[in-house]
Symmetry: C2
Subunit: 290 residues, 2 copies
């Protein structure tokens, strides 16, 4: 984490005719946001974190399309994905060459009263995930919400990737207090959902499943990639609601995310799961774009 992070501000994120350039590099160590930005006063904004491996962004298109869906769910102005793509490329190009970059794309509702979103791209060297890629211990923790939340209560924004992550961060602290590394959220009606910053993948024999979007989870970009790879290898893939007990009884489970990529669950609430190191390595290589 020694290389200098790169910040690109994107005043032209909504394509509106900004006075100057639609995006430009800025000083990442300097203050850039006001204290009335609704991103900070209300956690009212959206983001994506994109992995860049040996200079190549993985799933940038799906990430930007998910950002656009989040914007719709929050009734934010539609982001100009072309502008964001160019700004993203600038941030990556300006960053020192490192094997793994973690690039955050953020759009907030902007300064209160203006109706003008604030947006930026922030690229920095990824943390060293080698330990987690070998295996993680996971606590199953309630998310408090039923698996029917999307249909019942769309205003709760389940499935949108908002900046309001205080509860997610708190859940990870609870897992660490329990001696674990990460969290698998569980619905109040007893189904495994996703991690606070990751998607669940479960193997049931030669079938691989993830959580249905209807349960209020985020649409995973990694799991889509992994499903393509597995389908090409003749495996069945799909969505299925599973209980934590069914995850425990499965043939293996992973949490997928865009910079850590793939983390096999070795233990769920202290109980051991089978880990397939060879398959995990293949998933990792695929997600890394090798």
């Amino acid at each position: 984490m020694s290389a200098q992070p790169v910040l690109v501000l994107v005043p032209g994120v909504t394509g509106a005719s900004a006075d100057g350039a639609p995006f430009a590099r800025a000083d990442e160590a300097a203050a850039q946001l006001t204290v009335i930005d609704l991103g900070v006063t209300r956690g009212d904004g959206i983001f994506e974190t994109v992995g860049v491996f040996d200079g190549a962004p993985q799933n940038l298109g799906p990430h930007l399309r998910r950002l656009a869906r989040s914007a719709e769910m929050l009734e934010l102005p539609a982001p100009d994905l072309g502008i964001l793509e160019e700004a993203f490329a600038l941030a990556v190009a300006e960053h020192e060459d490192v094997p793994e970059l973690s690039v955050r794309v953020v759009m907030t509702r902007g300064d209160e009263g203006t109706g003008v979103p604030t947006a930026w791209i922030h690229a920095r060297e990824s943390a060293d995930w080698s330990r987690e890629r070998a295996g993680i211990r996971v606590s199953a923790l309630s998310r408090g919400l039923p698996s029917t939340v999307v249909a019942d209560s769309p205003w709760l924004l389940a499935g949108a990737k908002t900046l309001s992550y205080a509860g997610n961060m708190s859940a990870v602290r609870e897992a660490k207090r329990r001696g674990d590394d990460d969290v698998l959220f569980v619905s109040t009606d007893g189904y495994a959902l996703e991690g606070p910053t990751s998607t669940l993948l479960v193997r049931l024999g030669e079938t691989f499943v993830t959580t249905p979007l209807s349960a209020g989870v985020l649409q995973g970009t990694c799991v889509a990639s992994v499903f393509e790879m597995l389908a090409a290898a003749g495996r069945t893939t799909g969505e299925k609601l599973l209980t934590p007990a069914e995850v425990l009884a499965s043939d293996g489970a992973w949490l997928l995310s865009s910079t850590r990529l793939v983390a096999p669950i070795t233990h769920l609430d202290g109980q051991e799961l089978p880990v397939d190191a060879e398959l995990t390595a293949r998933l990792l290589a695929h997600l890394r774009g090798a």
Copy 2:
């Protein structure tokens, strides 16, 4: 809303020996926060909004103590309430004299990796709440969480006043889409909880009740003041879980908050409630500190 807002930054919020002054006025129109402040990237921070009426802050002590409780729940460093009180006084003193000020006290987890919170006080003239103080139409909307969430899932931070308010803001947009002004959140087990930025007060004959803290609502500073006033007038006060139907069948209901103060609910999901304008005026005068 023409008077100039006043910003006071509080680098000494944790009482740590900051290099310079523990707080100082800063340019509120200028950028003051970095893009790696966890307040914006994760909604990871806490806040209070305090009303100041004719120069007198209302319930500043209870607000700051609630901030300290929120800090504990989020495992943030404990804020130095004495420093915050002094910084608060400076912000109010520096603001042009207006009848009603809305003063926000914010503390975030700070720039990622530093462990040093960011804190500020932001004072601005309140919106004109005269219409809402005469009456509001309210939509009952599910919060998705059961009324047992505090006991079941403390990591979800129900009852802490965090910056992660995207869902609260979205619920208000849903209410407006329905032709209403505000929201009364309902638990998944069917109890009226609170508004997105307010506390519920209900009259049942000569008894006045609010939602039990155990249901995961924020401890209201206004309702404590109102209960003191009502108790002094010989009324019974207390906590009680009510269904929306019981609220509708009550002798009147209000949403209380620190700058709007008191808003009688005229309609809940389109159904009319009794409104006692005289009592509402007395509650308003009491909360305004008259």
